[in-house]
Symmetry: C2
Subunit: 255 residues, 2 copies
């Protein structure tokens, strides 16, 4: 099985010239098949404000009414995505920007209204790994915007972490997949104050130990739980690292 690396970076990194340039230089070094997934929330909030559209968040999630859906379609699918694609092309990487509607590679359902109506937000229900695989096998580098579609003509705003995870799980049927999540720290650390305390590898046994010792706490727990869920679904390894060190950080494996 060939390898394929799926890298997810947040909006902050791709929206600022300096960090974007650093990321793309790191991304260029990643060998073999690769996929980039990006956010863009800060730009969406900024453009929305300039258009007089108020951004409403509940528990860190954007409420996407019809006007906000137009904004995220413009910003994620157009501005952020196509700028990255043009930059990658200039570096000799054959990028292609995609939303879930393109080739219908990622289909979702509009999130049902429970206590909160998130609006035009998608919960992924189906990924066409072959649609991505054909592009990858032809040497292309998919650049995935955080948008899916419902198959009924509507785009849906979809969390970029979810896009990365779902793409990784689907591609795991065709490739040996590494799923890399970039965040602001160098990796999972033994000591939050010590940048040199990155834990290089976390196995299920070590994870239990680190949790009971109180070393892994709070927001890191759902991140690692999600990583193990991806591994359980066939992803070979999950990496948690900083965008300037895509081959470093912490690798999470099943054994």
């Amino acid at each position: 099985m060939e390898k394929c690396t799926i890298i997810k970076v947040g909006g902050k990194i791709v929206e600022e010239e300096e960090t974007l340039t650093a990321l793309l230089a790191e991304f260029a070094k990643v060998d073999g098949n690769k996929v980039l997934t990006h956010g863009g929330g800060r730009s969406a909030t900024k453009i929305a404000a300039q258009l007089g559209i108020e951004t409403k968040m509940v528990d860190g999630r954007r409420i996407t009414d019809a006007a906000m859906l137009d904004v995220v379609t413009m910003v994620y699918g157009g501005l952020v995505n196509k700028k990255i694609v043009a930059r990658l092309q200039s570096m000799g990487m054959n990028a292609i920007g995609l939303t879930g509607a393109d080739l219908s590679y990622m289909l979702s359902d509009k999130r049902p209204v429970k206590t909160v109506d998130y609006g035009f937000v998608g919960d992924v229900k189906q990924v066409d790994a072959n649609a991505l695989g054909r592009l990858i096998d032809a040497g292309a580098i998919p650049v995935l915007a955080p948008l899916t579609h419902d198959g009924k003509g509507n785009l849906l705003n979809t969390n970029a972490d979810t896009i990365a995870g779902e793409a990784a799980k689907a591609l795991a049927t065709m490739y040996e997949v590494t799923l890399t999540y970039c965040f602001e720290k160098k990796g999972v650390m033994r000591d939050q104050e010590d940048e040199n305390s990155v834990i290089p590898v976390i196995t299920p046994a070590l994870y239990e130990e680190l949790k009971s010792d109180g070393i892994i706490v709070d927001g890191m727990i759902p991140k690692i739980d999600n990583a193990f869920a991806a591994l359980a679904a066939g992803v070979k390894q999950v990496r948690i690292t900083r965008a300037d060190d895509l081959e470093g950080g912490t690798v999470i494996v099943n054994q």
Copy 2:
């Protein structure tokens, strides 16, 4: 050689719900391989105004400074393009939205400054027919936004008629291409007041006759000259018609 139809529609048609729905229904009826190319100028002007960015035109061409480039990247590459893609997918057509940067299928040079500085506007210099051909042969329907790139990391605003013409010429090496330009009339007419006077076929000999008889005048002359240039470059036929009648109108052929 397989057939391939490339249809260009202006912004007005794809930006309004009613005309978009009618267009897509007509587009669905077109047999075989097909490509859709769209504009989006009205939406760009509207969004730019909402963002406090003034639209400047010279001879009907948009001046594209850095702020306007962001607007057209958002509107053409994101809002207009992805909405069309999602709609086509809902109708069972396997659309994929592209700018020239995607797969680097269309490369251009920033237009040199002569009497007018058009800003970030591209003059097409190279089309990768294979990049489009591979998608088409896999059953996909490319939806082309009026944006290209310079290979140095910059997107460039590019006239949608030019995108359609250049794509058609490049694809003519692989397919028997029909290039269809939609405009507001039913076709090239003998009598501008009579909708039933559409000329079904124009050959070079008939074109000379119609010009000398004063039947083809003004703005229709460059349109038909462009059509003959496309035919000279290998396109099989050029059609000029209304968006609600994609198989009708006037067909321009070389013999």
